[in-house]
C-alpha cells in the first residue's frame, strides 16, 4: 500500500508588506460585493440605517468605484424607527444618489401591531421578518446583502458568507453549503435566494474603528448627548413612541446614547459621555456586555435569535 504523502508545504518568507487587519477585511468584503453583483441577476442591499449598514454602503462604493453601486437599497421600515434614523436615511441616500426602496407591513400596522399588544417576538415576526420576506418576493430579489457579523451572537458564528434560503426564505442550519477558500456557490433554483453577509468576519470594534478611519457618517443617536428618557432601574427607555407609562419622576434628562439602533419601543439607551468616535471606541473597549444585550428582543427565550433566523429574520 502506497503512502499518501503530500508535497511539503513551503513556509513562505514574510517579505511582502502585510496589510493591517482592517485593510484585509475591507479587501475581502469588496471581493464579496463584486462576486454577488456579477453572479446574481437581481441583488439588493438590506439597509437598516445602523452603523453596520453605513460600513456596508462605504464598502459597496469602494467595490464599484468609479462606477455607481449597481443595486438598490431596501429598508424594511417597521413603523417604529426613530425619527432621527429616517431623516438620516433620506438625507444620506439622496446625497449619494442611491436608489432606496422602503417596505412596510402596512396590513399589520393598520391592525395596530405593536410590541406590547403582540409581544416582541410576534411583533418582530410581522413587522420585520414577514415584511422582509414579502419585499424580497415582491421585487424578485435573488440575493440580499445583510450587515450581520459572526461575532454578534452564537448562532451567527456558524453562518456562511453566502447563506442559502429556501423558497420560504428560511435558513436550515443543518443543510448549509460548505464554503471553502473564497469560492462562493451562487447557484440557486427558482424562488430560492441567498443572503450575503460581507461583514461576516468583522467585529464590533472593527466596525467602529473603520467608521472612525474612513469618517463614515452615522446616525447621531449613536453619540451621547442629554436626552429626555424614562429612567427605570438600570433601564433608560426612549420616550419616542414609547409604550411604557412613566411614573412621576421617572422622566429625566440623561446624557446617554444608543449602542445599537432598533425600534424605539424595544431599544434601550445606555448612560454615556461618549460624544465622539474615539470616546465611543474607548467605551466599547471597556464594555463588558455584548451589544445585543441592550436589545429587549433577545431576552425572550434562550436561543431566540436562532429561532428568528430559521424563520427568515436576518
Amino acid at each position: 500500500m502506497a503512502s499518501a504523502t503530500l508535497p511539503e508545504i513551503p513556509v513562505y518568507d514574510n517579505s511582502a508588506p502585510r496589510l493591517s487587519h482592517l485593510r484585509q477585511l475591507e479587501a475581502e468584503s469588496i471581493h464579496i460585493f463584486r462576486e454577488v453583483a456579477s453572479e446574481f441577476e437581481k441583488p439588493v442591499m438590506l439597509y437598516s440605517i445602523g452603523k453596520d449598514s453605513s460600513v456596508m454602503l462605504r464598502l459597496a462604493q469602494k467595490a464599484f468605484y468609479p462606477g455607481p453601486i449597481p443595486f438598490p437599497l431596501l429598508h424594511v421600515d417597521t413603523g417604529y424607527k426613530f425619527r432621527e434614523m429616517l431623516e438620516f436615511r433620506d438625507n444620506y441616500t439622496r446625497e449619494l444618489g442611491l436608489e432606496l426602496l422602503v417596505w412596510r407591513n402596512e396590513g399589520a400596522l393598520a391592525d395596530g401591531a405593536n410590541p406590547v399588544k403582540l409581544g416582541t417576538q410576534r411583533c418582530c415576526g410581522l413587522l420585520k421578518t414577514t415584511a422582509l420576506l414579502d419585499a424580497l418576493r415582491h421585487y424578485g430579489f435573488d440575493a440580499a446583502f445583510g450587515g450581520a457579523r459572526r461575532d454578534e451572537e452564537k448562532s451567527r458564528a456558524k453562518e456562511r458568507i453566502y447563506s442559502f434560503r429556501d423558497k420560504a426564505g428560511q435558513w436550515n442550519p443543518k443543510a448549509q453549503r460548505p464554503e471553502l477558500w473564497n469560492l462562493y456557490n451562487s447557484r440557486i433554483g427558482p424562488g430560492e435566494s441567498i443572503r450575503v453577509f460581507p461583514l461576516s468576519n468583522w467585529t464590533e470594534l472593527d466596525i467602529w474603528h473603520y467608521i472612525h478611519l474612513e469618517e463614515i457618517p452615522i446616525v447621531p443617536l449613536y453619540f451621547a448627548k442629554k436626552r429626555r428618557m424614562l429612567v427605570r432601574g438600570d433601564s433608560l427607555i426612549p420616550l419616542e413612541q414609547s409604550f411604557v407609562q412613566g411614573l412621576p419622576g421617572e422622566e429625566q434628562m440623561v446624557k446617554c446614547r444608543l449602542r445599537s439602533l432598533g425600534c424605539s419601543p424595544c431599544t434601550g439607551a445606555i448612560r454615556s459621555d461618549a460624544d465622539t468616535l474615539p470616546k465611543i471606541i474607548a467605551e466599547l473597549v471597556s464594555f463588558r456586555s455584548s451589544e445585543r444585550a441592550n436589545r429587549v428582543i433577545d431576552h425572550d427565550q434562550e436561543g431566540s435569535m436562532e429561532i428568528k433566523k430559521r424563520e427568515g429574520y436576518f
Binding site: K154, A157, I281, F287
Partner: protein, 529 residues
C-alpha cells in the same frame, strides 16, 4: 471644571494611541480541530476568557446553563458551543468562526469538529487558515484522529501547525510524556508534509500554558499557546510570487473608463508593468491602479483593486490578469487532490460545474487515481469518492483554465465542484499536477430540432450548464453551419418530430424525444457516456 477637562483630554489622547496601535495589528487566521472530549471547546473558551475577549452577559449565560450545583462554575466549553441542535447532542457539528484580539494581533478562529464524519467541515475551516492547532490528549497520545487532523492540515496547505498536548494535569505535568508525544507528532508531521511544527504542553481546563506560562511545568521553557500565536511570523505571501488577479467584473461607468476589478490573488503589480490576459494571451501594460481612495503606484495581494490597461483588450469576468514573466499553465486537464463534500458520491464522467477563481466551467472527473484511507494514511484504488472521502482525481474542463499548483497559490490553485442538478457544492479540489491537454472526443451533435416547448426547456437547461445556445426558426444550412463554427448549440423550433443533426449534416431521429432524452443526445447532464 478644569480638572474634568484635563482628564477628558487625557482620555482622548490615550484612545488615539490605542487606535494607532489597533491600526497596526495584523490578522492571523487559525483553525482548530478536535473531538467531543479532547477539550477543544474548553481550550477556545479559556483562550477567549483569559485574554478578556468574552462579554459578561455571555459568561453569565453559560454559568447559568451549567446549572445544578450552587457553585458558580463557568463551563468554558459552552462559551463556544453554538446551535441548539448541537447543544442538545453535546457536540460541535459545523465550522464556527470566533474572533478575539490582543494588544498585538487580531485572530479569527475556524473552530471545526474533529470526527471523521466531519472531514468536510475540517477541510472548510482549514481552507483559509494560516495556522492549525491540533489537540492531542496527553493520556492517549497520537490517535487515528490526530493523524486525520494533521493530514487535513497538510492537504489544505496550512503553513504552520501547533500540536497542543492537552490534559497535562491528568499526567502529573510529566516532562517525559510531553517529550514522547512531541517526538511522535514530529514523526507524523514529517510523514504528512508539515514543514513548521511547534509542540506546547497545556491544560485547557486549568489554564496552564494557554495564556500564561505554567508554574507546574518548570521544565518547559517555550512560549504559552497565546504567546506563540501572538509572535509567530505569519507565513505570508511571497513578495516575489508571480502576479495573479482573477477579473471579477468590468467597471465601465462611461465611454472614457474601462477598468478590470478583482482581488489580487498573488504577487505585486505596479503601474507600467507588462501583463498578460488569460486565456486570450494578449499583453498590455498597466495604466492605472484605481481605488476609491485614489490611484496606487503599486498594490499587492490580497488588495481589491481596479486596473486600467494601456491597450483595449477584450477582457471579461472569468479571465485572469497575470504577470508575463510568471509561468502560466493554461490547460483543460489536470490532477488534483479532492475532498468530497456531499452524500451523493463523486461519479466519473458526470458533468459538474467547476468554479475556479472567478469563472465557472463545465468539467468531468475522468479518473480517480486513488483514495486515501485517512485512518492509516495509506492509499487504495477506488471507483467513487464518498462523502468525506479524500483522493486524487484527474479533471477535464470544457474550456481551459489557468491551472496554478495549489502548493504555489492557494487562491488560483483551488476549485469547487457544483452539481448543476441540485446546485449543491459537492467537492473541493487542490490542483497538484498539470496534465497534457485533453483532446476533444468525438463530438456530440450540436443541432436539435424540436417543438417550441421542448426548445424553451432545452434552452433553459443548457444555459444552466453554461452552454452557449442559439434559438432559431430558420432551417438554412449555411446559417446552421456558421453557427456550428461559432461553437454554439443550435436549437431549431419545428412543428415536426424531434431530430438531431449529425456530424455529416444529416438529420437523425431520436429514440427519446423528451427533454431529458434530447439532453442525453447532446451528452449534457448526468450519467455515464
Amino acid at each position: 471644571m478644569a480638572l474634568i477637562q484635563t482628564l477628558d483630554e487625557r482620555a482622548t489622547f490615550e484612545i488615539e494611541e490605542f487606535l494607532i496601535e489597533e491600526q497596526q495589528k495584523d490578522l492571523l487566521r487559525f483553525s482548530t480541530a478536535g473531538s467531543v472530549d479532547d477539550g477543544k471547546s474548553t481550550l477556545i473558551g479559556r483562550l477567549l476568557y483569559d485574554s478578556r475577549n468574552v462579554y459578561e452577559d455571555h459568561v453569565r449565560a453559560v454559568t447559568r446553563t451549567s446549572g445544578g450545583s450552587a457553585a458558580q462554575v463557568i463551563d468554558f466549553a459552552l462559551l463556544t458551543d453554538g446551535l441548539r441542535a448541537e447543544r442538545e447532542q453535546g457536540i460541535t457539528i459545523d465550522v464556527a468562526y470566533r474572533f478575539f484580539s490582543t494588544a498585538r494581533r487580531k485572530f479569527i478562529i475556524a473552530d471545526t469538529p474533529g470526527h471523521e464524519q466531519y472531514t468536510r467541515n475540517m477541510a472548510t475551516g482549514a481552507s483559509t487558515a494560516d495556522l492549525a492547532i491540533i489537540l492531542v490528549d496527553a493520556r492517549k497520545g497520537i490517535l487515528t484522529q490526530s493523524r486525520r487532523h494533521a493530514y487535513i492540515a497538510a492537504l489544505l496547505g496550512i503553513p504552520r501547525v501547533v500540536a497542543a498536548i492537552n490534559k497535562m494535569d491528568l499526567v502529573d505535568y510529566s516532562e517525559e510524556v510531553f517529550d514522547r508525544l512531541s517526538h511522535d507528532f514530529a514523526v507524523l508531521a514529517e510523514r504528512v508534509g508539515i514543514a513548521s511544527l511547534e509542540a506546547i504542553p497545556i491544560s485547557a481546563l486549568e489554564g496552564d500554558n494557554v495564556v500564561r506560562g505554567s508554574e507546574r511545568m518548570p521544565w518547559y521553557e517555550g512560549p504559552s499557546l497565546l504567546e506563540y500565536l501572538e509572535n509567530v511570523e505569519i507565513a505570508g505571501r511571497r513578495a516575489d510570487a508571480p502576479f495573479r488577479m482573477p477579473v471579477q467584473r468590468v467597471i465601465r461607468p462611461d465611454q472614457s473608463f474601462r477598468g478590470f476589478a478583482g482581488q489580487i490573488a498573488a504577487g505585486t503589480i505596479q503601474s507600467g508593468d507588462l501583463i498578460v490576459a488569460l486565456p486570450s494571451g494578449r499583453t498590455s501594460r498597466v495604466e492605472r491602479i484605481v481605488t476609491f481612495d485614489g490611484d496606487l503606484e503599486s498594490a499587492a495581494a490580497p488588495l481589491s483593486v481596479t486596473l486600467t490597461l494601456e491597450d483595449e483588450l477584450d477582457i471579461s469576468r472569468g479571465d485572469l490578469i497575470a504577470a508575463v514573466d510568471g509561468q502560466t499553465a493554461v490547460t483543460n486537464h489536470f490532477a488534483a487532490s479532492a475532498v468530497w463534500l456531499h452524500e451523493q458520491p463523486l461519479a466519473l464522467h458526470k458533468r459538474y460545474l467547476l468554479k475556479h477563481a472567478s469563472h465557472v466551467v463545465p468539467a468531468r472527473v475522468r479518473a480517480i487515481r486513488h483514495k486515501v484511507n485517512i485512518e492509516t494514511l495509506g492509499t487504495q484504488a477506488a471507483t467513487a469518492l464518498e462523502l468525506n472521502g479524500i483522493g486524487e482525481i484527474e479533471v477535464e474542463t470544457d474550456r481551459p483554465i489557468l491551472a496554478d499548483l495549489y502548493g504555489e497559490s492557494r487562491t488560483t490553485g483551488s476549485f469547487i465542484l457544483i452539481d448543476p442538478a441540485s446546485n449543491a457544492t459537492v467537492g473541493a479540489g487542490m490542483i497538484r499536477e498539470v496534465l497534457a491537454t485533453a483532446v476533444a472526443e468525438e463530438e456530440a451533435p450540436r443541432i436539435v430540432l424540436a417543438g417550441r416547448a421542448a426548445v424553451e426547456e432545452l434552452e433553459k437547461r443548457l444555459l444552466e450548464f453554461n452552454y452557449p445556445v442559439v434559438r432559431t426558426r430558420v432551417k438554412d444550412q449555411a446559417l446552421l453551419r456558421a453557427l456550428l463554427e461559432a461553437k454554439v448549440v443550435v436549437l431549431v423550433e419545428t412543428d415536426g418530430p424531434a431530430q438531431v443533426v449529425n456530424r455529416d449534416f444529416l438529420l437523425e431521429p431520436v429514440a427519446d424525444a423528451s427533454v431529458d432524452g434530447l439532453l442525453a443526445e447532446l451528452e449534457v447532464g448526468s450519467g455515464d457516456e
